[in-house]
Amino acid sequence: MDPALKLDGVTKRYGGFTAVRDLSFEVKRGVILGFLGPNGAGKTTTLRMTLGLVTPTSGSLQVLGETDGRRLKGRVGFLPEERGLYRRMTGVSAIAFFAQLKGVPRPEARRKARQLLCDNGLAEAADRQIRMLSKGMAQKVQLLSAIAHEPELVILDEPFSGLDPVNQQGLESIIRGLARNGSTVIFSTHVMQHAERICDQVVLMAKGRKVFDGTVAEACAAAPRRLVVEGALAPDALSGAPGLGPATSELIDGGRMRLTSALAGNASAPAALKAVFDRDLEITRLELEEPHLHDAFIMLTERAGSCALDGAHA
């Protein structure tokens, strides 16, 4: 079976500005892909190319086996960032309208809309205008309008932005449900916790380039583990300890100091811990932290930034 999405050397230029440079990656069907990157990384442009809204300057792009994104209208669902609904439409009408545009007959679209709202705890939104709903409810209705036609590929641009934790949790559930039903979900986000919790694959972009493509675990593995030590410590208490990088220091309550140091890639954690204990420090807390996607994101984007600077200087 064709992959849900395949990009091969895709570049997009706007005049003299290159928004996306030589981007290649593949997304298998049924996968939840997190599309990560700081502002201006090229995420939205890549999503728009995937949707057929803009055409690549060079390279090839295949979506659900099609090379022309404009042929996919009924097979793809899209949720734009921020609002994307008519404020005076009711929940049912809004969902049914977009489903109709995707080819679902009107009676079926309205039935399906009502069903989706009920299934997702939004029955009260069915006959209320969008402008009367809370932001969380409106965003859920918007997501439902993107999936009512049961698309094979769902593309969500910053779906969690501006939502409270409860609504974020609800949105995560809907996304997981989509993947369970066989849809491929691609979403862009700045919030690493969501990607870490629900993604099977993440692609990280910075300055128009791909800087990482793999699973969440692989991304986390790219970042070092960190040793956190708290107590009545001097800022240089860990300096020179084997296997530990330079420590950052932070004054916390009661005059105590928190020192954080990254373990070198090939360093042994027990050896590093023993070296700290051997210094006979007055320690109140000692923890070896596993890296999170957030750490990997920071490290990889910083690395990409310095590479870009190196390239610029060269």
Binding site: Y14, G15, T44, T45, R48, L51, G52, L53, V54, T55, R70, K73, V76, F78, P80, E81, E82, R83, G84, L85, Y86, R87, R88, M89, F97, F98, Q100, L101, K102, A146
Partner: protein, 435 residues
């Protein structure tokens, strides 16, 4: 096609379900009625003007002047002349000279002093000089009172003429017969059905003018609806979602059709209101108007130029809307066009009296003015080559607009920030999709 209709139906329902739409539909005929009857109503409800008259010539002009300004006016216009005046005695008199009278009565005009009856004066007429060659000094509260001056001038001229004819030996009956004389004039025109021109013959010109104004209102209302709709969709990023669901022609076509249905609804309501109003006041006039509409090809003209004009403006406004995030941006872009669009309003009035005026004919060839001016000229049966030529120009421009819209709409819909002409050109030439 089904996507186009889905978008059209949504567009239509979005407007006709709002209270504002029905309010504006109802307010339009109400505003028209108020404008028509405001002059008459204001003349009727205004108090009668108080006029003081002083005759220093010996009193020969008191009666003719009093008769002239106190007689009811059959066709009231405005100001003092439109209403019968009330003659009041000049307060504080008698006065030795016209200058003394003017100086003493000025405070009564300004409002600083009141007459013994508690009123202020609206005008003071002072007649002086010799009885055979009198002079009228007319003082009025308001600077512009041309009607009153004209009435008094006519009255004095009449009185002097009477005196001179009488001195020449003519009898009073003979003088009255001369005054009453009116030449028998008959107006003929080859364009009149009966040869001789009647009031009914003027009706087509006025119907054409009215249809021109209706077309103007409907076209720009529909285009304005589209503009606001597209701006709202762009600012809410709904256009992006639409572009993932339908093609650009389907989106533009659906929106234009939807707004056309809105304007058609408005037209039906206005036609019904006008028909009912005419039927209840003057069924014969309604019959005449329907006859004119049926006989003079107005249906053809209206349909042809409504379709062309509406498409032309709707496509233009839709494309501009796709490049604007706020109504203010659109106003800035459309400002010059809206100023230019006042020109046909000026020339449409000419179509009644001078339908073949060269300036009017020349203006009819400018596609942006064509629909309104050609409909207004329809009653004069313009030559077929002009109808075909102006229609071809109008539809030609519309075709160019549709071509540009097809290429630029997507670029505008995906663009962010303020309108940029280079961006529009890049979209048209297909060289860029800057976002």
């Amino acid at each position: 096609m089904s996507r186009l209709l889905t978008i059209a139906v949504r567009e239509y329902l979005a407007f006709v379900r709002t209270v504002g739409f029905w309010l504006s539909i109802c307010l339009m005929p109400m505003g028209l009625l108020i404008a028509i009857f405001a002059t008459t109503m204001s003349a009727k409800v205004a108090p009668a003007p108080q006029v003081a008259l002083l005759d220093f010539t010996g009193g020969a002009y008191v009666k003719p002047l009093t008769d002239a300004i106190t007689a009811p006016d059959a066709s009231p216009t405005s100001g003092l002349a439109g209403r019968p005046a009330i003659m009041v005695a000049a307060p504080g008199g008698p006065y030795a000279t016209p200058d003394a009278a003017a100086a003493a009565l000025k405070p009564y005009l300004v409002g600083d002093r009141k007459t013994p009856a508690g009123a202020h004066l609206d005008a003071v007429a002072i007649v002086h000089g010799s009885p055979a060659d009198p002079q009228l000094d007319l003082w009025t509260r308001n600077i512009i009172e041309a009607g009153l001056q004209a009435k008094m001038t006519d009255a004095i001229a009449g009185a002097v003429r009477h005196a001179q004819l009488s001195a020449a030996g003519l009898t009073q009956d003979r003088i009255s017969a001369i005054d009453a004389y009116a030449p028998k004039v008959a107006h003929f025109s080859p364009k009149s059905e009966a040869g001789r021109v009647s009031q009914r013959d003027n009706l087509p010109a006025f119907v054409g003018l009215a249809l021109g104004f209706v077309l103007y209102a409907l076209t720009l209302t529909g285009a304005g609806i589209l503009l606001n709709s597209v701006i709202e969709e762009k600012s809410n990023r709904i256009l992006e979602v639409l572009l993932t669901s339908a093609s650009v022609p389907e989106i533009i076509g659906g929106k234009i059709l939807g707004a056309a249905m809105v304007t058609a609804s408005a037209m039906c309501v206005w036609a019904a209101v006008a028909g009912f109003g005419l039927f209840s006041r003057d069924p014969h006039l309604l019959g005449d108007i329907l006859g004119v509409l049926a006989r003079h090809g107005f249906g053809f003209y209206f349909a042809l130029y409504f379709v062309g004009g509406y498409l032309m403006y709707a496509t233009l406004f839709t494309t501009i809307g796709a490049f604007c995030e706020t109504p203010r941006e659109a106003q800035t872009l459309l400002g010059p066009l809206m100023i230019i669009l006042t020109i046909p309003l000026v020339f449409m009035g000419q179509a009644v009296s001078h339908p073949d005026a060269p300036a009017l004919q020349a203006m009819s060839w400018i596609p942006f003015f064509t629909p309104f001016l050609m409909v207004a000229r329809a009653a004069s049966n313009p030559p077929l080559w002009q109808v075909a030529g102006t229609a071809a120009m109008m539809f030609g421009l519309t075709a160019v607009e549709v071509w540009i819209a097809g290429r630029a709409f997507r670029t505008g819909a995906l663009a962010s920030g303020r309108f940029d002409l280079r961006l529009l050109l890049a979209g048209v030439t297909g060289r860029g999709e800057r976002v």
